[in-house]
């Protein structure tokens, strides 16, 4: 239910006057029905109608692939529920799918980069660019130090055993494609795995 702002005292008084049900009751309206209806109830609308953009998404939890409608107002998600057009879930969702809204606008979500220096005992907040730059350098340094072109017996391998990438079963196909393409196609990493086996 949308909560109206607190009107000034004059509006408050007029609100009370409008909500006073005795006149409506004397006019014959049912005291447990129409007479008792407050103007708040009359004005009530579902918040979905405030959404200015509705996108079709797929539930990020299990592999059934339920379609969801994400309602957004400005850059804030205001609700997530099942997509009635999908032949898989026809608008229904399991508890996790129904809880997607609780994940998307969760106040405890990480929003800044956290960095832990070696042997440190606390997190530090760092800018994203700094972190990306440092990660790229660490990748290059580790690859350069451990890259093996040929095995002692001459077999061409062109790989590094010191870099690894783990994770991907909840990632998009495009993300998995670029991870394999970059890690295996360019950096020579063989340790590229995801939780398909977990």
């Amino acid at each position: 239910m949308t909560i109206t702002q607190r009107p000034r005292w004059r509006d408050k008084l007029s609100g009370i006057a409008q909500d006073w049900a005795i006149p409506r009751q004397l006019a014959g309206q049912d005291p447990s029905g129409a007479a008792a209806e407050s103007q708040g109830s009359r004005r009530l609308r579902p918040r979905l109608e405030e959404a200015d953009k509705i996108g079709t998404s797929i539930c990020p939890y299990c592999a059934v692939g339920c379609a969801q409608l994400i309602y957004a107002k400005g850059n804030d998600v205001i609700h997530v529920e099942g997509d009635p057009r999908s032949p898989i879930n026809q608008g229904t969702l399991c508890p996790k799918g129904a809880g997607t809204f609780g994940w998307l606008n969760n106040p405890k979500r990480l929003t800044t980069v956290k960095y832990r220096a070696p042997h440190s005992d606390r997190w530090e907040d760092k800018p994203l660019n700094w972190a990306m730059e440092r990660i790229a350098l660490r990748v290059k340094q580790t690859r350069d130090e451990t890259f093996v072109s040929r095995l002692p017996d001459g077999t061409l391998v062109n790989h590094t055993m010191a870099l690894a990438s783990l994770g991907g079963a909840t990632l998009d196909n495009e993300e998995n494609y670029l991870i394999k393409k970059l890690c295996a196609g360019a950096l020579g990493m063989v340790w590229v795995e995801n939780q398909a086996r977990v």
């Binding site: 079709t56 059934v64 999908s86 990480l110 980069v113 005992d121 196909n173 998995n176």
Partner: protein, 858 residues
């Protein structure tokens, strides 16, 4: 999923989940479908409304069992005993679908005479080589050395280089004895193999009462044949065993014998756990595969040069004959114009794998210091990975670690929050890992596609920008690659060529320079080179470099500019065929039911009107039906290859062979190559089992991958110190690693703490009541949790002995509104021979009342 790959040709669910509604019998085994795939269970209940029988076979009575008609309790780890019993029952009582199995499976094919079965060698197949600890597949081939079939899943280290085998291929079709009298035909081999799996033996090994087992067998066979079909649903309850792949193979044999594959309401539905886990094996971030199930070049195999690699992997018959087209298109997509004959198509730039680089060996490689840097993207191995203490030791031994998560997970905060640090045993200053914790974006904040449990590629829209520094993983990997290309731009070293030549030119959009996911999907779909016209289907792929395609099996997902089939939302109406071809894209070729040629009899007519699906249209000489036919559209049912002309590829597949990915076009009840641990599933006890193997002297799977290390100890079989069987599992309200649900209040309150489910008989013995604290301990570690005493678990009588079984959900950790001990502290690192998947569904433990002393919290 090599088992479905080896048996039918493709490693994926054979049926869409909505087909379950047409099933006359749904067997859910190795899965707790109502709890972990509730929305898919809708279709099981719709089948029930239409009169189907629902059967649940599970060690625990769960919410799925509450809705089933028959609940068959089995001891965890005894699945193959149960399934073997079913196969024996089907064959012994002649209940199998004759016309289907004779023509569409290799039941009548004759196997090499030197083949010997586990029944004779007491637990081993012929060809066992104790030194190399592997099987030589020579004796498993069809008689007359017909070329071993090529499986599309992961080509396996078969020792002998594949090319030698090619030269000894006889030209004709595999030898077949349709009268099934030949002692070495697959039918008789199966009869001999499963002769020991009598109902009494099933009861002795699994603990499932004989009459219940027979009721399951009767319900299954009654609902198979021309007029009726049955479906199987399974999940990690089957895969998480050291014999996981063979369990699924057994179900494949049953479904092929009963003629349920490729028919409406029939098939095997693999219920995958993560939103795009099928996608993460199709477009694999897996060590042993290149995109599209192309095997990753192996240093110790005949993959030294590109020519050898192509020659080795190209199967003479069946669809895999097109292998070079797929490989060259992939390299063209990766390296653009740099992929040419001069650079051997960029093949040397692809790193050769040395052996098994899956997650379990990766954990130990980190613990041993081999791996110095790890990109941990959207996974929480400290909770989800096995032997959690070893995982933490590994992460603590890294030089640097990048974690991309939406919350601070246990895998990111192990260095200051793991029990060892809390109890003072370890201090953060002793852990040298430099950790970057990058916030990630969620679907709704990023574009992209997921591939669901039945190969359906569905697009999810970007509706809002991610908050603050959150970025999508596409953004992260793209910009990491861009920065690395900049760093390596000028380096003189030839080994950095792949970085420079990698095509990485995706348009950037939006305020955060997000790479266009549509562009990546277009590359996955494939386009012509160099004019970049989108390909319509894999048929257009060429092996002359004129086409580039990232994932050949996904070709068709983006057939032309502006038409993203994954983003199409046009479902069938009530009057439609119900295959919903307009909703999303199902690989390959938007086909919903695989092998649907098998829905028609050898002459091309539907087996029955009730189960009409795909049939041969005589007038137009084409295959038509409710779905995209899984067969060359114009190949008549009666087509027979002309062996004299030594036919290649699809020409070698005759008109009544629905399984075109397999070289002889028949589904493999007997797998000649592709399975490391045996052509036919045999029961072995889990590596840690409370009982001895009653079928053979060999206790567990001879090829089970064991890592004997001090920090990964195993229990001896029937170890009195760990007398209770234990299984770990998921709950409806939480999602595997736990992070995405333990942080959501409305979900966390539904299952607020970790618990251990204990049968009341064991609870009475140990004087444990519900909500009492109990300690569960294994050689790897001990955890404490509250007890939940429930009749839903029952003691089993195995070979006269009473075996208690306990269960523990594994989502919990120290973060979030719902916390608890990490169940995977108990599990050991044991791998399945074919996939190195861990054995989390059946091991042993000890249980006592009380709590852990504060210091000993591990």
């Amino acid at each position: 999923m090599p088992s479905l790959g080896a048996t039918f040709g493709r490693g994926a669910a054979t049926m869409p989940q909505w087909e379950l509604a047409n099933s006359d019998c749904v067997i859910i085994m190795g899965s707790n479908m109502a709890e972990n795939h509730p929305v898919a269970f809708r279709f099981v209940l719709e089948a029930k409304e239409r009169g189907a029988t629902i059967i649940h076979v599970d060690p625990r009575f769960t919410r799925t069992s509450a809705l089933a008609d028959i609940y068959a309790p089995i001891r965890c780890g005894s699945d193959i005993a149960f399934l073997g019993g079913l196969i024996r029952h089907i064959l012994a009582n002649d209940l199998w679908f004759k016309e289907y199995a004779l023509h569409y499976t290799n039941l009548a094919t004759i196997i090499n005479d030197r083949y010997q079965d586990v029944a004779e060698l007491d637990g081993f197949f012929s060809g066992w080589d104790p030194e190399s600890h592997s099987y030589d597949l020579e004796t498993w081939q069809y008689r007359g050395e017909a070329s071993p079939q090529k499986l599309e899943e992961n080509h396996v280290t078969t020792g002998e280089p594949y090319s030698q085998k090619l030269r000894r291929i006889s030209s004709g079709a595999p030898p077949v004895d349709l009268t099934l009298k030949h002692p070495s035909c697959v039918y008789n081999i199966l009869r001999r193999h499963y002769a020991a799996y009598t109902p009494e033996m099933v009861e002795r090994v699994t603990g499932c009462p004989k009459d219940t087992f027979l009721a399951v067998a009767e319900a299954l066979t009654r609902n198979s044949g021309r007029e009726r079909t049955g479906a199987w649903c399974y999940a990690v309850g089957w895969t998480h065993h050291s014999t996981g792949v063979q369990i699924i193979r057994a179900a494949g044999i049953i479904q092929a014998l009963l003629g349920n594959i490729g028919r409406p309401g029939g098939g095997i539905l693999a219920l995958r756990g993560h939103c795009s886990i099928q996608g993460s094996t199709d477009v694999p971030t897996l060590y042993n595969m290149l995109p599209g199930y192309l095997p990753h070049p192996h240093a110790l195999k005949s993959d030294a040069t590109f020519k050898e690699y192509l020659e080795g992997q190209t199967n003479k018959r069946g669809y895999w004959n097109n292998f070079p087209k797929f490989a060259k298109s992939l390299l063209r997509a990766w390296y653009g114009e740099h992929a040419n004959d001069g650079t051997e198509w960029g093949y040397p730039w692809i790193p050769k794998i040395m052996g098994d680089h899956s997650q379990l060996p990766m954990t130990m490689a980190m613990a041993d210091g081999t791996i110095r840097g790890l990109l941990l993207i959207g996974q929480n191995p400290v909770v989800g990975g096995h032997n959690s203490r070893l995982v933490r030791k590994g992460l603590g031994n890294l030089e640097w670690l990048v974690v991309r998560e939406t919350f601070e997970s246990e895998s990111a905060s192990f260095w200051y929050k793991c029990p060892k640090v809390i109890s003072g045993e370890l201090s953060p200053s002793q852990i040298k890992t430099e950790i970057f914790l990058l916030p990630a974006a969620l679907p709704g904040e990023k574009d992209g596609t997921f591939t669901n449990t039945h190969r359906l590629v569905q697009w999810h829209d970007k509706v809002v920008e991610p908050p603050a520094d959150c970025r999508s993983d596409l953004w992260f990997i793209y910009h990491l690659g861009k920065r690395l290309k900049a760093l390596y731009a000028g380096t003189p070293d030839r080994r950095d060529d792949p970085i420079r030549h990698l095509t990485w030119d995706y348009p950037e959009m939006g305020p955060y320079n997000d790479p266009s996911a549509q562009a990546v999907l277009k590359e996955i779909n494939g386009y012509t080179w160099p004019d970049r016209r989108q390909l319509v289907s894999p048929e257009e792929l060429k092996d002359d470099g004129s086409t580039a395609c990232g994932v050949w099996i996904y070709s068709g997902v983006f057939p032309k500019d502006g038409h993203n089939q994954a983003r199409s939302h046009v479902p069938d109406g009530p009057d439609g065929p119900g295959t919903h071809l307009g909703w999303g894209f199902a690989w390959p070729d938007n086909r919903r039911m695989l092998y649907n040629r098998a829905a028609a009899d050898p002459a091309g007519k539907p087996w029955s009107e009730r189960k009409r699906y795909v049939w041969w249209q005589d007038r137009e000489q084409r295959w038509t039906g409710h779905d995209v036919p899984d067969f060359p559209p114009d190949k008549a049912p009666g087509y027979k290859p002309d062996w004299s002309k030594d036919p290649q590829g699809m020409a070698a597949i005759d008109g009544d062979s629905p399984f075109t990915m397999i070289s002889d076009g028949k589904s493999s009840l007997f797998v000649t190559s592709g399975m490391k641990d045996g052509p036919v599933p045999a029961h072995y006890e889990p590596v840690e089992s409370p009982v001895h193997n009653l079928f053979y002297h060999q206790q567990n799977n001879p090829l089970a991958k064991k890592w004997l290390r001090p920090d990964n100890p195993y229990h001896a079989p029937a170890d009195p110190a760990y007398p209770y069987a234990i299984t770990t599992y998921r709950l409806t309200e939480h999602h595997s690693g736990g992070m995405p649900t333990r942080m959501v209040p409305s979900l966390a309150e539904l299952q607020p703490e970790g618990f251990v489910e204990i049968p009341p008989e064991l609870a009475r013995e140990k004087d444990i009541a519900t909500l009492d604290w109990v300690v569960v301990s294994t050689a790897r570690g001990s955890v404490e949790a509250k007890a939940m005493v429930t009749h839903r678990l029952r003691p089993f009588t195995i070979d006269g002995r009473t075996i208690y079984q306990v269960g523990m959900p594994f989502h919990f950790g120290w973060h979030g509104y719902a916390t608890g001990a990490i169940a995977n502290t108990l599990t050991a690192i044991i791998g399945d021979p074919n996939t190195t998947i861990h054995e989390g569904k059946a091991f042993t433990c000890n249980l006592r009342k009380g709590r852990l002393p504060v210091r000993a919290q591990k």
